[in-house]
Structures are given as C-alpha cells and as structure tokens.
C-alpha cells in the first residue's frame, strides 16, 4: 500500500478498518506479527543468515567468542560460529518442533475428544480414564522419562512432548463436543437418519474446533519452552543442530565472561513463547465476545 492511495479510501471505511486492527485485537495483532516475523526468519534463514554455514557444523577456531560487532551482531560462540546465524537456524528447529507437536497432539486429541463427547457412555469413560492416567504425571517429568529412553534427537523431542500434550486437547474437545451433541442440529441430523460417525465428523467436529484452535495457539509457547528444556538437558537436539535450548546450555557457563552466547538464544525463546501466548490470548478474547 502506498501513502498516496490511502486518502482515496472512504474515511468511514478506513476508520472502521483501522479500529478493527488497532482495537480489541491489538494484542492478537502483536502476537501474529511477531510470529510471522519468526516464521519468515526461519524460512529465509539460509538467505538472511550472515554466515549460513554456521547454522551447522562449521567451525572457525580463530573467531571464537568474539563479542557483538558489525561483522557478528550477536557475537560468536566457543567454536567461532556466528550466534545470529545460529539463532535464525534455531528458529527452524523450534518451529518445526512446535508445529509437529501441536499437529500430532491436536489431531489425536480432537479425534478422541469428539468420539468421547459424541458417543458418551462407556466410550467416554474409557477415553477419559486414559487421559487421566496421562494427566496424573507432571507433563515435563513424563516427557523427560520418555526422552531418556529414546535416542536424543529432534524426533525424540517431538514424540515425547506430543505424548504428554494430547490428553489436554482430548479433555477440552470432549467437553465441547458433549455440549454440541445436545444441540438441535445434532438431533435433527439423527432424525434424518444420518449415521453416527457421519454426524460426528460433519456436525460435531466442525462446531467443536474453535476452543481447541485457541488452546493450540496458546500452547505453542509452552511447547517451545518444553522443547528448549529437553534440549537444554541434553535429551533433544544435539550438535551440530542449531537449537535454542541447546545453545543456552552450551553458553551458560560463559555467561559472566561472554554473555552474548547464552543471551540471544534465550531471548529468542522468550520472544517466541511470548508471541504464541499473546496471539492465543487475543484469539481467546476475541472469540469470547
């Protein structure tokens, strides 16, 4: 959009559009914009990273632990890799983990939740008791236990977080689906003789999705924090993969002397988690109206 074009727009339209963007949705907008930037950074990492090779296994011993400068905005780490480049590549790992965990646990959770909520009776009881078993453990502890058993890798992180994450979506979807199932259009479909599985997919599922989608966007930050925690503990991504939690772990002992090694990946975790939360809160506020 160019500046000269805006005065031609009808003033009323412009104002409502502006208010729409700037009003109640400001919070969500901040989150969405931040997240869009992070996604863009992740996608374009090979193009915009000043030293693309540093995202991987390159080493430059002579450049080790240089403080931030014009050549290395975020400084360099112990083996001389550009921290900015690694933070950008790390966004790929973190977002991949977040998306994979949310998709897997979201799909499993929603499917089981709709079945439980619509079928009711003993089917619901069985599914709910299984989720209870999972929810009885502190989530991080269960993820940790799983990650310890499996080989440390990004896949391990995804699997071990998804395993502890889906029961929340099952419970949420089940309660929403149960209330949707009592609504008139479900009765009407039953009276038409539409088979139960079709009613569940065609009527109950689409009308139960909204709260789960909000919850998923709220949880993105949590997944990234958990993933960072697992990698920090050496159970997830390992060298030479760029991963924020791993970078924090490797840089923490240097904090007093070479603060940049740990600070920038830490900030990246903070900002991404914040963006997810703020977007989720904004969506929730908007849909609650």
């Amino acid at each position: 959009m160019t500046v000269s074009a805006s005065p031609e727009a009808p003033p009323v339209l412009r104002r409502t559009a502006l208010r729409h963007l700037a009003g109640v949705d400001r919070l969500a907008m901040v989150g969405a914009v931040l997240l869009a930037l992070i996604v863009l950074a992740a996608l374009l990492a090979p193009l915009i990273a000043p030293y693309p090779d540093d995202g991987g296994s390159a080493t430059h011993p002579l450049d080790a632990l240089l403080p931030p400068s014009g050549a290395h905005w975020f400084g360099t780490d112990q083996v001389g890799r550009d921290v900015l480049s690694r933070v950008l590549y790390g966004a790929r790992t973190s977002l991949l983990i977040a998306v994979a965990v949310l998709v897997i646990s979201g799909v499993v959770g929603v499917v089981l939740g709709v079945v439980a909520g619509y079928a009711g009776g003993w089917v619901r009881d069985v599914i709910m008791r299984v989720t209870d078993v999972f929810l009885a453990f502190p989530a991080l502890l269960l993820s940790l236990a799983l990650a310890v058993v499996l080989q440390p890798s990004v896949t391990t992180v995804i699997v071990s977080i998804a395993v502890t994450w889906w029961p929340w979506y099952t419970r949420l979807t089940a309660s929403v689906a149960a209330s949707v199932s009592t609504r008139g259009f479900v009765d009407a479909a039953r009276c038409l003789g539409v088979p139960a599985p079709v009613i569940a997919i065609r009527h109950v599922l689409p009308n139960s999705l909204t709260p789960v989608l909000v919850q998923l966007s709220l949880d993105g930050g949590g997944v990234i924090l958990t993933a960072a925690a697992l990698s920090y503990l050496g159970l997830g991504a390992h060298e030479p993969t760029s991963e924020w939690g791993l970078m924090v772990q490797q840089g923490q002992s240097l904090f007093t002397t070479d603060w940049w090694v740990v600070t920038f990946p830490g900030l990246a975790i903070l900002v991404t988690a914040f963006a997810f939360n703020v977007l989720g809160e904004g969506l929730r506020a908007r849909l609650a109206r």
Binding site: G184, F185, D187, A189, R190, C191, L192
Partner: protein
C-alpha cells in the same frame, strides 16, 4: 397415498437419570393434527424426543406402523425399520437457529436430507432444494446463506423444508413458532397447515398456545407434570374443560380488550409428590385429591384424570365462545 400410518406412545415413562419427567403417557398421532398442550417443564419436549426415537422410554413403548395392522416397538426395529421410520417421521424444533448447523449453508442442510434419503447429488439435488425453498415460501437465492444470515422465520422455514425433503408422513412439531414474533408465528402456522394439507401429513403439534391447537388440531392432550390430565376433541377441551388445569390454561390466555387474565390457583406451587400432582395449585382440591392420584376416565367424550371433573364441567356449563 399409501396406507395411513400411526405413531403412538404406549404407557410411556421417561426419565433423565433417576428423575422421571414423563409418567405413563399414552397417546397417538395419525391423520390430521393432534395437539399436545402444557406449560414449560410439563414434559412435552421430552415426550417428543421419545416419539422421534431420540430417547429410550424407561418403561412402556413408542410404536410406529401402518394404521390398523401391527405397529412395531421402536426398540425392536432393525436397520431397515429405522431407515423407514426416519423417512416417515420428521421433526420441526422450536428454534430454527438451534436446529440448523451454524456452519452449513441452507443448501447443505436441506441437501443432507436429500442425500440421506433419496441419494440425490449434484444438479438434481440443487433443483430439488430450489423447489423445496419455493414450497416453503423462500427465495431460492437463500440457498447459499448460513443460519445467522437469516431471520428467525426464514430459519424455521428452512427447517420445515428440510423435514419435507425427506417426504415424511408424520411431523412432530415441537413448539415450532414459540421462538418467533407473533406476526411471523401466524405465517409459519399458515404454512404448516397448507403443507400438511397438500402432502397429506399427520402431525403432533406441541405448544403452550391454546389458540394454535384450536386452529390446527382436532384432538388434543393436556399435559401437567409429565402426565396427560385431559384429552379429547380440541373444541370440547377449550369450550368446556373438565380438568381444572385445562381450565386454568384457558383462562390464563390474555385477550385484547378483555379483563387481564387471572390464573386460578397458586401457579407457583410445584407438582405434588403424592395424590393428584395438580392439587397444590387446584382451587377445587379436596381430601380425596391428597390421598389418591386420579386415574384417567372417560367423561362425556373425553379422558380426564381428576376427582372433581364433574364439578369442573358443571361450573363451565355456560358455553364459552371458541377463541379465534
């Protein structure tokens, strides 16, 4: 027309959990209109759900089949039997905005009925949707709308069109107009009356509005606290009620230019647990009403469950002008 069918409740008791909400109700719907009248909470809608096969009776049976031959208990139907029942009996619920999936267009909602029952698709289905919309007095252009883009009256017409799409023989109309403005109510009732006539449909009309049954139903049943307290020809019930509750319902109808209605008895009292359930609200209650629950009996062409039905009738000997 194929042979007439009949849908009936046979000593049906319905319960949610351990709370019975409908007690031992027997009634049947066949040709023409049958009314079911009662206040909120009297169990009308619960009974409708049982008649539609959405709720299993705790005891008794919902039976369906051709009139005069053996009707079948819904609980004993096989797949084919259910498919036929679903094709023959369709509901119209109280609130069109509830009864239509908010995420579906009108065409998808009506189309679902056509696909399920007549395996229609593509152009044939689209044409049939158009015809049905015209039949219920809607612009075919509305086919692409979603429920929230229509008025309450339009939504109810769509719900009626969907029921008709199945080509049913009986309709269960559960307060089909109570969520609508008065002027719209009248038009929806006109529409239902016309369609029922054209398609030869029998219907059960559930309402708390006496004027509505007066117009559309030859026979009516009055429900109180989950029991049918009086049933018989509608005009008889309304001109000369034999149950004090029917009388109270009739006299509670406000009239233009008339005295404000004075509901008889204490309308706020809950149904009694023992004896006659209506006795706490009944201005005529005597000791017998406390001791013994009245059993429905035949009294001058109607069934009534009241110890003092004769006295109620006698007090109403002066013919009451039928309401328009």
């Amino acid at each position: 027309m194929s042979e007439p069918v009949v849908l009936g409740a046979e000593a049906v008791t319905l319960a949610y959990g351990s709370t019975a909400v409908v007690h031992d109700v027997t009634l049947s719907v066949g040709e023409g209109g049958t009314g079911l009248i009662g206040e909120s909470g009297s169990g009308k809608t619960t009974l409708a759900r049982a008649l539609l096969g959405l709720l299993r009776p705790r005891s008794g049976a919902v039976r369906y089949g051709p009139r005069g031959s053996d009707t079948a208990d819904l609980a004993s139907l096989d797949r084919k039997g259910w498919a036929r029942f679903r094709g023959d009996v369709q509901p119209v619920f109280q609130d069109g905005s509830e009864a239509l999936d908010p995420r579906m267009t009108v065409e998808a909602s009506i189309g679902e009925a056509l696909t399920t029952h007549h395996r229609m698709a593509g152009n044939a289905r689209r044409e049939r949707v158009t015809a049905l919309l015209e039949d219920v007095g809607l612009e075919p252009a509305l086919a692409s709308r979603r429920p929230h883009q229509m008025s309450g009256g339009q939504r109810q017409r769509v719900a009626i069109a969907r029921a008709l799409a199945v080509e049913p023989r009986l309709l269960v109309l559960d307060e089909p107009t109570s969520a609508l403005d008065v002027t719209v109510q009248a038009r929806i009732l006109d529409l239902l009356e016309r369609l029922a006539g054209e398609h030869g449909l029998g219907y059960l009309l559930i309402t708390h509005n006496l004027g509505v049954v007066d117009r559309l139903c030859r026979t009516s049943h009055v429900m109180f606290a989950g029991r049918v307290v009086e049933s018989g020809p509608t005009t008889e019930l309304l001109t000369r009620p034999a149950h004090p509750y029917t009388l109270a319902l009739r006299d509670a109808v406000p009239r233009l230019g008339g005295e404000p209605p004075r509901p008889s008895g204490r309308t706020e009292a809950v149904p009694a647990e023992t004896g006659c359930p209506f006795r706490l609200r009944c201005p005529l209650a005597v000791d017998a009403c406390r001791e013994e629950a009245p059993v429905a009996r035949d009294l001058r062409g109607r069934m009534v469950a009241c110890h003092r039905a004769e006295d109620v009738l006698a007090a109403n000997e002066v013919p009451h002008a039928p309401r328009q």
